[in-house]
Symmetry: C2
Subunit: 211 residues, 2 copies
DNA sequence: CACATTCGGCTAACATTGTTAGCCTTCGGG
DNA sequence: CCCGAAGGCTAACAATGTTAGCCGAATGTG
């Protein structure tokens, strides 16, 4: 979840500014030729099935029935391919998070964490790609990160708590995906322990006057 | 922070078991020839200075004044080199965490988070190497992970909260290292927001009777 | 002392990676 | 009808990890 996944208010310099940010708009997806879209799709399944090391230009070309060099008629570089995949991932995660917040009103933080976890577990490799390492922020569709991360702000009600909440979700998900914890039964409770902590912290925050 | 970084009690099946685990021992470092140690050292500075892509067998051989193929007289593979670096990293982080817990008694969670953050910021690439992706757990020195992660259990007082706390620290540190947040001033407050949440949760946990 | 063995260096090579250059066919629009 | 672009191909390059095989020097051991 790159950069300002956690969109926050007009900044600390103006704490009086409206809190529940006017909903960021999801930027329109990039225009692509049919062939390019097909390639990106193939790359995605290849990544998810064979892992990151299974996604090579030659193997990708193979599954598309083409020569590796010919890929460059559709995409400028492997990096660009990754950027496309990252945009896919951001779009899906953002949709999931926004969707769940739109419904559930009782326990937004719990619901948000669940949705985040599910999205990551559904596409582990893609999640890793989206959130691993520092990538060129300039290449990503303008506004996509902010839109995808907005739900954390909405659920937390405070920019700093929002970032902390996202950090917790990100860290826990990565550790779960990487199998760094012990057994499976603990994991639900680990998520829950964090959720409880953040819910309590949320309650301690002074309600933003919705003037 | 591989596997059971967060060591916890004898498991949930026996909640009555002694809580403050008998302090895990730091396993003795692996025996190495002087030359191997020198190479690993060079690899480490190379990694930290030039980044992960700057650490290649040939460049490493160059800085040591040797031919790439000759490296294999000292190390079986690049993977083994990485494992050695991971052990270094675990050792350092674990030392930092244990050290800080040994002193400060007033605010263990805050002190622990500070120490974790400092350790990571001091050696970003090494931290990423240690904690990124799933690696063969069997290769790591027996007990090293558990020892390095023990402080989280000690500070949190509950295995699930400990894992959640570690998750938060890990996620926040990664996002900070990768520059995924916005500006610098926010970061202290992000860490603090999380710290407060976990401290409150810690207080809510029933004191383990130290019988 | 002579001899064998191991240690630690070397060069050459291989397969695999991303990527570029250059050629050729096909097909739609002036 | 021709021209140019789209989109395929082969050949090649540099850099990656890694292996095979050679060789000199040190280090015991009979």
């Amino acid at each position: 979840m790159p950069s300002d996944l956690v969109a926050h208010g007009p900044s600390d310099s103006d704490p009086k500014a409206a809190y529940p940010q006017p909903s960021t708009a999801r930027p329109a997806p990039r225009a692509r030729t049919a062939r390019a879209a097909e390639i990106i799709d193939a790359a995605r399944t290849l990544l998810e099935d064979r892992g990151p090391r299974g996604l090579t230009m030659r193997k990708l070309a193979d599954t598309v029935g083409i020569q590796a060099a010919s890929l460059y008629k559709h995409l400028p570089s492997r990096r660009a391919l990754e950027v496309a995949l990252v945009e896919h991932g951001l779009d899906e995660i953002g949709s999931a998070l926004h969707g769940v917040l739109a419904k559930s009103t009782a326990d937004p933080i719990g619901a948000l964490l669940d949705a985040y976890r599910s999205a990551g577990l559904a596409n582990p490799q893609l999640y890793r790609l989206v959130t691993s390492g520092s990538f060129p922020r300039g290449q990503i569709l303008e506004g996509l990160e902010a839109w995808a991360g907005e739900p954390f702000f909405l659920a937390a009600g405070d920019p700093h708590l929002a970032q902390a909440l996202w950090s917790f979700a990100h860290g826990t998900l990565l550790l779960e995906l990487d199998g760094r914890f012990l057994d499976g039964s603990d994991l639900d409770r680990t998520w829950q322990a964090g959720a409880e902590a953040f819910k309590a912290a949320r309650r301690a925050i002074p309600r933003p006057s919705v003037r």
